[in-house]
């Protein structure tokens, strides 16, 4: 039978995973903010859709972080 990971190793991996997901969340926020700034530079008509996509991406990052807190 294949052994499962020791508790301490499992805890470290979980902490690192959450840290990585948290950092990715920051990246997603930066992307939303940068899109807002650039939309101020260029008004062309497609910016609202891009904004929605970046916000959805950020929401996805938050969702996975919460899911990781629950599942891991």
């Amino acid at each position: 039978m294949t052994p499962s990971l020791p508790i301490i190793v499992s805890f470290i991996i979980k902490a690192l995973t959450l840290l990585g997901l948290g950092l990715y969340g920051i990246f997603a926020v930066v992307m939303v903010r940068q899109e807002q700034l650039m939309a101020g530079v260029l008004e062309e008509g497609f910016e609202p859709i891009l904004r929605l996509l970046t916000i959805l991406h950020f929401a996805g990052a938050v969702g996975i972080f919460i899911l990781a807190l629950i599942l891991l």
């Binding site: 499962s4 990971l5 992307m31 700034l37 530079v41 991406h57 996975i64």
Partner: protein, 214 residues
């Protein structure tokens, strides 16, 4: 088929001073994938003056996006194709908890979406604009870095373009170099479609500016 070229009539004669500005708003001729538009409607940029009209709107040729699009397709295919293969071939000395597999897969796809968004934003907001008064270069180099450069048409000294390589020849794109007088920075329009038309248009506008009475 995405719209590469949008064209309406070029302004003629002396620098056009807002002949078309009225309370009636023209419908936008732009699409998200437009990379060459002559006299586009529905485009405005930061610092655009009231009587300033956009004559040319440029982005890099669509073909420059091919590498990251191919990578994105590869990233999408990796979890269903590559991961099961690795799990079958490599025997880990421990059991990977199901939670990690779920989170890992979801994160992989989210990161792929992030990769696509980041590259698209970089292409979308990296724009070159020629108006009846100046030339503007807005660069979105990285996520945290943008650059806004401009040069008045009257300050332009030398305009040239260069193309090179198989793709550039096949798809007719190249780099337009604009040298300016004085302290204004030189501008470079990278990988823009039909560089010869860009040079021609800027030269015509420059001539009009030079000939127009002060």
């Amino acid at each position: 088929m995405p719209t590469l070229f949008e064209e309406t009539a070029l302004p003629k004669g002396k620098p056009v001073k807002s002949q078309h500005q009225s309370s009636v708003k023209k419908p936008s001729t732009m699409t998200p994938l437009t990379c060459f538009a002559v006299n586009p409607s529905g485009v405005r940029f930061e610092t655009q003056e009231e009587d300033e009209e956009v004559v040319l709107f440029l982005r890099q040729h669509l073909i420059v996006n091919v590498p990251w699009v191919l990578f994105s397709i590869l990233f999408v295919l990796i979890p269903p194709v590559f991961f099961p293969l690795v799990l079958r071939l490599v025997h880990f000395p421990f059991v990977i908890p199901a939670g990690y597999i779920v989170i890992g897969t979801l994160f992989w796809y989210l990161a792929t979406v992030g990769f696509i968004l980041m590259n698209f934003l970089r292409w979308f907001f990296n724009i070159y604009i020629v108006t009846n008064e100046r030339v503007v270069d807005i660069d979105f180099v990285q996520l945290l870095y943008k650059q806004f450069s401009e040069a008045r048409l009257s300050k332009l000294q030398d305009i040239s373009y260069s193309t090179g390589g198989i793709l550039a020849t096949l798809f007719n794109y190249g780099t337009v170099n604009i040298e300016t007088a004085g302290e204004s920075p030189n501008l470079e329009f990278e990988s823009v479609p039909s560089p010869e038309r860009v040079v021609e248009t800027i030269s015509k506008l420059n001539q009009n500016i030079q000939q127009s009475p002060l």
